[in-house]
Amino acid sequence: MTSLTGTGTLIRLILRRDRVLMPIWMLCMALLPVGLASGTASLYPTDAGRQGYIDSLASSPLLVLFYGPKPAEPSLGALIFWRSATGIVIMGLIALLVVIRHTRVEEEAGRRELLGSTVVGRHAALAAAVLTVSGASLVVGVLVALGMISQQTPAPGAFAMGLAWAFAGILYAAIGALAAQLTTGAGAARGIAGALLGLDFLLRGTGDVAGGGLSWLSWSTPLSWVYQVHAYTGDRWWLFALTTAVALALVLVALRLSAARDVGAGLLPPRLGPAQASATLRSPLGLAWRLHRGSLIGWTIGLGVIGGVLFGGVAKTASSLLEGNGQLTEIMERLGGKSVASDIFIGGSLGIGAIAVAAYAVSAALRMRTEEAALRSEPVLAAGVGRLRWAAGHLVFALLGPTVVMAVTGLFAGLVYGASTGEVGRQVVRVVGAALVQMPAVWVLTGLTVAAYGLLPRLSPAVGWAALAACVLLGQVGAALNLGQSVLDLSPFSHIPHLPGPAAVPLTPLIILTAIAAALTALGLTALRRRDIPVT
């Protein structure tokens, strides 16, 4: 196996480079279910209490979209496996990002070439990345299992759950490795693997929510098998044989593709560009359009069109889930009829969409930092372009790009939902409004990232992504962790009014959030005008 020579050394290199980042994400992931379990155990100590909790959560189609179908029994372990299923998707996301970081990013930067000239086998770099991430995923799995055992849940279920989490990472490490073979740019590889993860999530979720003729979707994707492990209730160990086989097959395909191509090249051939710039490429805004258009189009189609259609399509089935839950139906009817369930579903999914859009907003704002660190801002700033004009080009996409994506999401959700209820015009207006009402919270994250970029350029990626992660954690598990309302209110998303709904829109929080976003952006730009460029 000379093609694997040097794999051990390269694994040590990855561990050395990620010695801070890797323990942090591993620990966060390992602590997530334990924290949830201890919080839930004190809130719902009895089976009956947990059953009531499960029933109330499962009455929301949105949560079924996230967590999968409700567990068959109300044991603490089963509840936590179900309730913390978001962690499965996050494991997949981290795994694909880390694998691409150590494969295609290295290749694009030319460092793979330097290593490839030493005594390193053809497959070593790819194998080292996949093995490291898979190993880290398994360690997370063991930690999750130990944590769950420490919460007095049965050991077999705890290990089934830990392995399920580990395999979410392993499967998407393999998919990331595959995506890294396709394109010459790391950004495009991340886009492909991330889109597959999103599609995986949406297909499985649609199967779980819609059921009936679509229930086969709940078995259609890699992550769906991880959900189907049903730790504590089913403990379907045989699924791990299936996931192992699929992960191995994916890695082998990636290795074959990797061996069949040149270092630095992708399977999708690079094309020649125009010899002259078009008339639109003449300003910082024109340049920003070229740099941002790919991700804007990707997000608009991925979340806006596909997500919007799914949200709108599932919304009409939301009311049917209420049947059999007398108490909830009663509450809903008092609030304004059965359509309230659909409204809550649409509002909730748009809230989740807004978090995803915030990720796009942060990455678009951080594009300024990428440009500066790669010294690409230098020739532009040396060519008759003021700093504010340069930054404005990127800010257009960091502030308005997410707005476009949300508006398109609302448009398609409203169209599809309205078509099913026969009132297209009314629903489009309501749902687009409900989508846009989220924007002030997204802009706060953009503003925070811009402020960090101006004041602490080196730390700005960490600040931006940590703020987003904090919002995700506060929104997803904050309440279950028994955090006080004052802590939950730190997330700008907690101040967004619930729309669409019958109540009037309170304008004050929207105005305050927008003002905070504007102040943060202004602060960042002021600092940017005063500081040295580039700070490397």
Partner: protein, 297 residues
């Protein structure tokens, strides 16, 4: 204002590290000024301050009669800059980058662009990520040289170019100066500096250690003398300007400062010169003397 660039006592620190420590630099309009110094001497920092990208801690800098920080945008319309390591946007073609940078600067000379593409033998249709180091450098050079500006700031512009392309670069810069352009050329390639520059400044550890025309600098260098004499020499070591004297019987080897050459030769002839070998001073020696790591003065 006769000077395109006038820098006095410039200082700049990055945290604890002192990058510039009282640097002086004067570039007259219409001249090609060589800017020399070992790695880390502060050349790039100086150029970035002149571009208004970094803010100086102390001292004054004037560029084309304006303040490089305050008037950055207005000044940038009148200059073009080539970094030592041109980085391109991976998904933009070379041609697009040339046009973009030219337009941002306020216009590009289309016929010059075409001519330079031919002379530098560059395919403008390739995407940024597909270019080699040398070809990326050509994109930066063409973008700068194709615009009709007053001042060119070139920071080791030929790094990665092959000798043929370096020759093209020299021709183009020579043509530009004939059209009255001012050039600040930071470089390590002495032949390039000798071929192009009217005056040079040598900096070390953030400070200017030598500045002047090439002839003046040559004057600062030493001539190597090997002489066979009729009688053993005496008193030679005491003469001003004699360095590294080695006596082997009646043969002496030493270096002598250009300014003292006449007096030293007069002394030598009193001993009866049988043979004399004199090696002319090279700029390289002067540079190496300043590049050495110990503080010179």
């Amino acid at each position: 204002m006769d000077n395109a660039i006038s820098v006095v006592g410039l200082t700049k620190s990055f945290g604890q590290a002192k990058a510039l420590d009282g640097l002086d630099l004067t570039v007259a309009r219409g001249e090609v000024h060589g800017f020399l110094g070992p790695n880390g001497a502060g050349k790039t920092t100086t150029i970035r301050i002149l571009l208004g990208l970094l803010r100086a801690d102390g001292g004054t800098a004037t560029l084309l009669g304006g303040d490089p920080w305050r008037d950055a945008v207005a000044l940038h319309r009148r200059l073009a800059y080539v970094p030592g390591d041109v980085t391109l946007w991976p998904n933009l073609s070379g041609g697009e980058v040339i046009d973009l940078l030219g337009r941002l600067r306020g216009g590009l000379n289309a016929s010059k662009r075409k001519d330079l593409l031919e002379r530098f033998d560059l395919d403008p249709r390739k995407k940024g990520r597909a270019y080699s180091k040398g070809n990326r450098q050509k994109v930066g050079l063409i973008a700068a040289l194709a615009s009709d500006v007053e001042l060119l700031l070139l920071d080791e512009p030929t790094s990665g170019l092959d000798p043929l392309m370096e020759e093209v670069f020299r021709q183009v810069v020579a043509e530009e100066t004939r059209n009255g352009r001012t050039v600040l050329l930071s470089s390590h390639i002495l032949s390039e500096v000798e071929a192009l520059c009217d005056r040079v400044s040598i900096i070390r550890l953030g400070r200017t250690v030598e500045t002047g025309t090439l002839a003046e600098l040559r004057h600062l260098t030493r001539t190597h003398i090997t002489a066979e004499l009729a009688t053993p020499p005496n008193g030679l070591a005491q003469l001003a300007g004699v360095h590294d004297l080695k006596t082997d019987g009646a043969t002496v080897r030493f270096q002598v400062d250009q300014a003292e050459l006449d007096a030293v030769l007069r002394q030598l002839t009193t001993h009866g010169v049988r043979s004399l070998v004199s090696q002319p001073p090279t700029l390289e020696e002067l540079f190496l003397r300043h590049y050495e790591t110990e503080p010179v003065r």
